[in-house]
């Protein structure tokens, strides 16, 4: 049924990653990113002139200033001039652009980073501005309420239950027990605080390298054996809120089902999204191995997706897993989905 595209592609691996998250950071984006970027360059022994391509992801709406990513290049050091690009998206999409550049044969090494500092602004307002500017954004619906609309839809259809939400909250670590979950008052009915993300400032930096180079830089490179991203309509009205076709399609294309998955690092910042995505991908609702750092507890817009890929790579470097799915999402109600399969085997 599915046709994965992974066979004939150039092999690229994640060879180093560094991240930092705090609920409210007083450092600037530059001050935050310099130690992270320095760390991955030092770990691999690469200086900036030896890195073929640099790509980042961030959002001016979080920073509250235009072309904010240009200032953050102070953390990279573009002297002498570097080959560079930026996406106004989560860093996972910067990684995708970089992966394409590897496929073109243009580069052997790359620096990918992304960051988000929502604390200076009102994040619920910022998130409203990503909605349809004519009909929805002027109503300023907040992200929790939109997630609750979807949760209500799924509950009434018996696609999910309140028990599922409670179990997911316990697994993600936002509550210790079901009792604690059901004791919480409703935040955006039918969602409680434990169903919704805690936002954090933070960033992540990563070095990628192609076959031939990756083995020199890392003892056990985390090979990207498949990667794909797809988008659903921005218009809630034309979407079936009980399905995520873009996630399913991206998973098939990335070869998720070609073999078993040891661990799934899912970028799901609401319990309801975690459950729905697991159902869509045929992943167990009670996985034996779960993310050590569930994004619902520290959601850093623009970085959480790339951080999932970093966490997946870490699991491979530390031999905790051999084949890991990393997922990133962007847009309202998981509108855009990226799937990346990482493996300890080059394949």
């Amino acid at each position: 049924m599915y046709e994965s595209m992974v066979t004939a592609m150039r092999k690229v691996a994640v060879v180093a990653a560094s991240s930092r998250q705090e609920e409210k950071m007083l450092d600037t984006e530059v001050e935050m990113m310099i130690p992270l970027i320095s760390k991955v360059r030092e770990e691999t022994g690469l200086n900036q002139t030896e890195i073929g391509f640099t790509c980042s992801g961030s959002s001016d709406f979080l920073a509250g200033q235009a072309f904010s990513f240009v200032m953050t290049l102070d953390a990279v050091g573009p002297v002498p001039p570097i080959s560079e690009s930026h996406v106004e998206m989560d860093g996972a999409w910067a990684l995708y652009e970089t992966w394409v550049k590897f496929q073109m044969g243009a580069i052997d090494t790359a620096l990918v980073y992304s960051y988000g500092k929502p604390s200076p602004g009102s994040l619920q307002d910022v998130l409203s501005t990503q909605l349809d500017p004519y009909y929805i954004a002027p109503l300023w619906p907040d992200a929790h309420s939109i997630a609750a609309l979807q949760a209500r839809h799924l509950l009434e259809q018996d696609e999910i239950s309140h028990e599922d939400l409670a179990n997911c909250a316990v697994r993600a670590g936002t509550v210790q027990s079901q009792e604690e979950y059901f004791d919480q008052p409703m935040l955006a009915d039918p969602l409680r605080q434990a169903d919704c993300p805690t936002y954090a400032d933070g960033g992540v930096a990563m070095i990628l390298a192609a076959e031939g180079k990756a083995e020199e830089l890392c003892e056990r490179p985390a090979w990207i054996t498949g990667i794909d991203h797809r988008i659903d309509s921005h218009h809630f009205g034309v979407r079936d809120l009980s399905a995520i076709p873009s996630a399913k399609k991206a998973a098939s294309k990335a070869g998720v089902y070609d073999a078993g998955i040891d661990l799934a690092e899912l970028h799901t910042s609401y319990t309801v999204h975690d459950i729905l995505l697991r159902k869509e991908l045929n992943l167990p609702l009670d996985p034996t191995r779960s993310s050590k750092n569930h994004p619902i507890k520290a959601e850093t817009l623009m970085a959480s997706g790339l951080l999932r890929i970093a966490e997946a790579a870490r699991a491979i470097w530390e031999q905790e897993a051999n084949r890991v799915l990393a997922h990133a999402t962007s847009g309202p109600l998981m509108q855009q989905n990226l799937m990346c399969v990482l493996s300890g085997e080059k394949g």
């Binding site: 130690p35 500017p133 004519y134």
Partner: protein, 184 residues
Amino acid sequence: MTEIQIPSSIRNLEQVQSVRTPIRMEYTFTPGVAAQTYLREFGNKKILGNVSPVDGAILVPPRGADPRYGVLCDEFVEMPHTGHVGSFCVTNVPIPGRELELPYISAWIFLDGADIGFLNLVAECPPEECRIGMRVEAVWKPDDEIGMTAENILYWRPTGEPDLPFDEAGVRGWHVRKHGDSDA
């Protein structure tokens, strides 16, 4: 192009040309370590620079980083209030948000000892007399109007001292001092 069919009830009304959906968002800006330190001391009429840990270059104003190499700068140095014009521009059109007498001179000012310049106004100088290498000094606002803001210095005026040689002024000075005749 497809003909748009307008319902008869609104057929004689003026067509909508644009839709306005104003958006306002507020941010509590966090300046970070370097800008905080700089602005606090600027409020005491002191100008600070960062010292690059790589080659000792002095960067004014400090941003907490040497942007050439992507390294943190946490060493500060106090700068003199004198320098030279690295390059300049005479502008004859008004600037939004500021009331300036036309024409005005915007210049790239290099403080004595600094390795990079910054943009500021030059005044008390007829535009035709402004030149690269001209020595200037800061003219501060009255003490009771000084705050933690970039507006503390009203403008820079000529000191009348001999000019810096053209080859040593501004960005050229940077290359002469740091790289000699190399092609860096």
